[in-house]
């Protein structure tokens, strides 16, 4: 997994879920993935299905 200037190795992929919301104004469509990084850090990343970009929600 790559960030702005960092790279992390993903050890485990946990739960995957999808959120579709606010279809009545600016639709939000995301695919969330819970991952465990090298060193044991839990984080949640998501893909914005409208733009195709990936974001890190928390670390």
């Amino acid at each position: 997994m790559e960030g702005d200037e960092k790279r992390w190795r993903v050890e485990t992929v946990g739960e995957v879920w999808r959120v579709d919301d606010e279809w009545w104004r600016q639709p939000i469509s995301r695919r969330y993935v819970e991952v465990v990084l090298e060193g044991g850090k839990h984080t949640v990343i998501f893909e914005d299905l409208n733009s195709g970009h990936w974001f890190m929600q928390s670390i």
């Binding site: 959120v19 919301d21 949640v44 929600q57 928390s58």
Partner: protein, 424 residues
């Protein structure tokens, strides 16, 4: 118990908000709301600008922001409001010894006999207005240095009402414009009351609504009904409000006697010259004197320390606190500073701390002071305020935010919380 039938009501609506505006004058032109003390997800007090945009007390923060996006949300600072109110009470007590605090921002002044001292009701009202303004100036002096613009004091927005009994005075104050007064003379009292809206009655919103639904708009409308009929509809409360509306109740202002001086003393088995021991003893004596039951509901205005020295000499220091306090540290600190500057000239055989003058406290203060947890919270808030001030001074801007729960149920994590500027 001191009491007075003739009353003046000094009322500052939205007092906590006015206190905040005193610290941050820019707030006066912005829609503002204070968060609830018990539940920070709800708003407690709303400024008229925010109210105009539909924000009401009790709505959730998310609703409030939805209704009014530029809304400035502030964390409440009850200790600060209480201090400001104590300033007002202290200033009023210089005009009359009969002072009855009703709630934050509303106090009654007993004015029986004051006409002989100052002149007619207008002169007495002018004295009270001047005292309120003086309290405002004193409060403005205490505004943290971070506010560059001159602060508008909450007391300058005081509305004053004169009448026989607290209810008439209160209704008169609600009719007054900010900084002005309304006098209801005895001969016009019943007529005045009859023309007032039923909203002036001390009732819950549901009962007010019922009165409106019954077509009762003014106190006069209410008193045209038989007292028994109102009592049968609204019970004991109905009887009370009917009698208030009819002017049959003239509830006097009930002041309290200022307590006699309170002394706490310690005899040393061997005379002490060590300043550290003397300072520690002062701390303990202040703590002991504060615990006196006579002190309850009062703040200390003048504190003294006196010592009996070896060979019959004595030592005395007296501190008049600009901001009367019931806080041990605030009382002991100036005594200890003076001890350092001008210590006793010999060893001390007996040390005493005396509270010789008091300023009225408020019921709110007692609530905070009695509750140890709240007191600790207030202390933490004070420490936090100092730290934030330090950070702002160093960085020239605030980088601190308060996390507020907005949509805790949202499936989008970033929607669950909002950050608001932390302005302690």
């Amino acid at each position: 118990m001191l009491q007075s039938d003739l009353a003046v009501c000094a009322w500052i609506p939205l007092f906590p908000l006015r206190c905040e505006e005193g610290r941050r004058p820019d707030l006066a032109s912005r829609p503002t709301a204070l968060l609830s003390l018990e539940d920070t997800r709800r708003v407690w007090i709303v400024s008229p600008l925010a109210r105009r945009m539909g924000v009401r007390p009790g709505v959730t923060v998310s609703q409030a922001i939805g209704l009014c996006p530029p809304l400035v949300l502030l964390e409440p600072d009850p200790v600060w409001y209480d201090e400001q109110f104590a300033h007002l009470l202290l200033a009023l007590s210089r005009v009359s010894p009969v002072i009855e605090p009703a709630e934050l921002g509303r106090a009654y002044v007993g004015v029986d006999g004051l006409e002989g001292l100052y002149g007619g009701p207008e002169r007495v009202m002018a004295e009270i207005a001047a005292a309120a303004a003086e309290a405002g100036e004193a409060a403005a002096d205490l505004v943290p240095v971070s506010s560059a613009a001159p602060a508008a004091s909450p007391a300058s927005a005081a509305r004053l009402g004169w009448g026989r009994g607290k209810f008439t005075a209160w209704v008169a104050a609600t009719r007054a414009k900010p900084g002005e007064f309304v006098i209801v003379a005895d001969e016009g009292r019943l007529e005045f009351l009859a023309s007032q809206p039923v909203a002036a009655l001390p009732l819950d919103p549901d009962t007010h609504r019922r009165l409106y639904q019954l077509g009762l708009k003014t106190l006069g409308d209410l008193t045209t009904l038989p007292e028994d009929a109102v009592t049968s509809q609204f019970g004991r409360l109905g009887r009370l409000v009917w009698r208030l509306a009819a002017g049959l109740i003239t509830d006097p202002v009930m002041g309290r006697e200022v307590p006699e001086p309170i002394t706490a003393a310690l005899d040393f088995p061997t005379p002490i010259a060590d300043r550290v021991i003397l300072a520690n003893t002062m701390d303990k004596l202040v703590e002991r004197a504060l615990k006196s039951p006579r002190r309850t509901g009062w703040r200390v205005h003048i504190v003294r320390a006196r010592a009996a020295l070896e060979q019959g000499a004595s030592w005395l220091i007296e501190i008049t606190l600009k901001d009367p306090s019931a806080d041990q540290h605030r009382l002991a600190a100036p005594l200890k500073a003076r001890l350092e500057q001008a210590p006793p000239t010999g060893a001390v055989e007996r040390l005493a701390v005396e509270f010789t003058a008091f300023a009225p406290g408020t019921t709110e203060l007692q609530l905070f002071a009695c509750d140890a947890e709240s007191a600790a919270r207030a202390g933490r808030r004070q420490a936090l305020r100092a730290a934030v001030h330090e950070i702002k001074t160093r960085l020239k801007r605030s980088t601190l935010y308060h996390v507020i729960e907005v949509h805790p149920w949202s499936r989008l994590p970033e929607r669950r919380y909002a950050l608001i500027d932390y302005e302690p």
